[in-house]
């Protein structure tokens, strides 16, 4: 401790602040924890009143999430004893597993579309950001306002012409169509964030490289890219999270082949009544990666969510 400072809060005020913030954090976590534990409940436990905190955990929700099942006659069940652990769980309800559900497919679509559009946004975004940062390009100053204004249009409104355009081009309900759309939505953010990161790399580095006989392209590739790696990575995670979470375009423009997980998870309810444990299991698997990325990203969070307007 470096002596007395008038701006340092008193220990008592720190204690009060810590208590209140912890309390808020705990309250904020309740819904998320509830999703997590509901995934391990049996359907009966999930809808018990009062809500159960203590219960016997089961993988029923996860089994129901990944499989389609059908009811069987007693003779059939007696003749075919269960041979796997998940079959055994399903047998409690006189059912057998007949195949995988669509969840795996939808989840995989989310992965392809998420990573595909992220790669494309970051690749094109880095090139454009470098050009915006280092060369004089007309209208570059209006870029931020342009980005903001493209975000003012409700996604449902954007979906109307995109829907018509994709129908003409045969891109409706395709992976490529969704990748291009998410890239188009993300790229302005990506360019803007990356421009901020590249602006921070001193020009002198490249100039030295150019004098050493590098071409402009080599200087970009060998000097700027490694310096911007952290910025590129955090931009990538932002693009990924956006594409991963996106719902409005996905629900309006995809129906089968390219449907992602967010429009799918809520429809699990329709199958065999209200299957909340399966919904919770799906939500858990879907939300967990983002939580992990958020924790990794915490230092760059502010910059990304405010389009670089607040840098910290």
């Amino acid at each position: 401790m470096s002596g007395f400072s008038v701006t340092e809060p008193t220990p008592r005020s720190k204690r009060i602040a810590a208590t209140l913030v912890t309390l808020y954090a705990v309250i904020t976590m309740i819904p998320l924890l509830w999703i997590f534990i509901t995934g391990f409940k049996s359907p009966a436990d999930a809808i018990a009143y009062p809500p159960k905190v203590m219960f016997e955990p089961t993988l029923e929700g996860y089994v129901n999430l990944f499989t389609t099942r059908t009811r069987q006659t007693q003779e059939y069940l007696d003749a075919n004893p269960p041979d796997t652990w998940y079959e055994e769980i399903v047998r409690q309800y006189d059912m057998t597993v007949v195949g995988p559900s669509k969840f795996g497919e939808r989840f995989f679509n989310s992965v392809i579309i998420g990573f595909g559009s992220t790669f494309l946004s970051v690749f094109l975004g880095t090139l454009a950001a470098y050009a915006f940062s280092r060369f004089r390009i007309p209208f570059a100053d209006d870029l931020l306002f342009f980005i903001l204004s493209t975000r003012m249009m409700p996604p449902v409104a954007v979906a109307i012409p995109i829907f018509l355009m994709y129908r003409q081009l045969g891109l409706s309900d395709t992976h490529l169509g969704m990748i291009l759309l998410y890239t188009g939505v993300n790229i302005s953010l990506a360019v803007w964030l990356l421009k901020g990161f590249i602006d921070e790399i001193p020009r002198e580095y490249e100039e030295a490289a150019l004098i050493d006989g590098y071409t402009r392209f080599q200087a970009f590739y060998k000097v700027v890219l490694p310096q911007a790696a952290t910025g590129i990575a955090s931009t990538a995670i932002f693009c990924l999270i956006f594409a991963w979470n996106e719902y409005a375009f996905a629900v309006l423009l995809t129906s089968a082949t390219a449907q992602t997980a967010p429009p799918f998870i809520p429809t699990i309810i329709g199958v065999g009544g209200l299957d909340w444990p399966a919904v919770a299991a799906g939500a858990t698997l879907f939300l967990l990666p983002v939580m992990i990325f958020t924790i990794l990203l915490r230092k760059h969070l502010l910059r990304g969510i405010t389009f670089g307007a607040v840098r910290k």
Binding site: Y24, L127, A128, T150, P154, I160, V279
Partner: protein, 314 residues
């Protein structure tokens, strides 16, 4: 040196290498920017122009063969005189007003507390931030479960603290409660956003200002109102701008929670727009609606940004 670029450089035939070497900065600038510009034109600008064009017609996307007639400003006229749409606007305004008020209040308070730099504040900040990074549709869908009367956790907790019967109220089913149910979830989800921006604002205030105030014997309360608040205000206003734009176009969370119901009490403009465009397939009409919404947000945001810049200049 065996790094990839050198290898590529050596493997490239001399003629091509010379040509690439010869690229001017100007050419590189255009090669780098062109794909992005193209994509923005294709995904952002072109659809906008198309929407404007459609808004003057009676086009219906589900009937392709039908003759498309030019109806002039009829669509705009009908929307602006439709009393149902004004109800949707009111629902949106209610949602906007209360979410922003609550988020600013709670978000600022949290930031102000966290700025005390107590032990473990980083950990708690990260935990508090989690909800806003998650998929609103998936989370909204699960909140529907929490809101269930009788079995839902939310009703149980309210019962626990107030003694009201758990089955006596339905957050999503009652006309007077449903607008608040979406405000609660949005506040839960997005308060951390306001908090993060306020925190950045608080951390940008240099210590010496407070030290000077202390020497002048300004009270803590006075310091709060004459230093803290004015210095954080530009940040807070920025947070409000972002939340305002986002919540004006709110769709995923609310459509999953209430679907606009009961009746049309939580039918925000985006949800109404979806009904017109993708359920009734009145594409021309919906396009006009979309343009009206866009102009509204754009106009309000422009005025707001002007005000923000004035505050920043002070």
């Amino acid at each position: 040196m065996a790094n990839p670029v050198d290898r590529v450089a050596q493997a490239t035939p001399p003629t091509i290498a010379r040509r690439v070497r010869g690229l001017s900065d100007r050419a590189i600038a255009w090669i780098f920017v062109a794909p992005t510009i193209f994509l923005l034109l294709a995904i952002n600008i072109f659809p906008l122009i198309w929407t404007i064009k459609l808004s003057f017609t009676n086009f219906k996307a589900n009937r392709i063969g039908r003759e498309v007639k030019d109806v002039g400003l009829r669509n705009y006229e009908r929307i602006l005189t439709d009393s149902d749409i004004w109800l949707n606007m009111q629902a949106t305004a209610h949602f906007l007003f209360w979410t922003i008020c609550l988020q600013v209040l709670i978000g600022f308070t949290l930031a102000w507390l966290i700025n005390r730099k107590f032990k473990g504040n980083d950990l708690w900040t990260t935990i508090i931030v989690l909800p806003m990074m998650l998929s609103p549709a998936v989370v909204g869908n699960f909140w529907k479960f929490l809101y269930q009367p009788q079995i839902g956790l939310f009703n149980y907790i309210v019962t626990f603290f107030t003694g009201a019967k758990a089955s006596s109220f339905e957050m999503l089913g009652q006309v007077n409660l449903a607008p608040w149910s979406i405000v609660i979830v949005d506040t839960w989800m997005w308060t951390p956003f306001v908090m993060l921006i306020c925190l950045a604002g608080l951390r940008s205030i240099p210590d010496y200002i407070y030290e000077a105030a202390e020497i002048d014997r300004a009270s803590k309360i006075r310091q709060f109102f004459t230093i803290t608040i004015p210095m954080v205000l530009p940040f807070l206003m920025l947070a409000v701008l972002f939340r305002g734009i986002e919540n004006f176009k709110m769709f995923d969370l609310v459509v999953q929670l209430t679907g606009g119901g009961p009746g049309s009490t939580t039918e925000l403009t985006s949800i109404n727009l979806k009904r017109e465009a993708f359920e009734k397939w009145r594409t021309g009409y919906a396009s006009a609606y979309a343009i009206i919404l866009f102009v509204t947000v754009f106009g309000l945001a422009s005025i707001y940004v002007k005000a923000l810049n004035k505050v920043k200049e002070r």
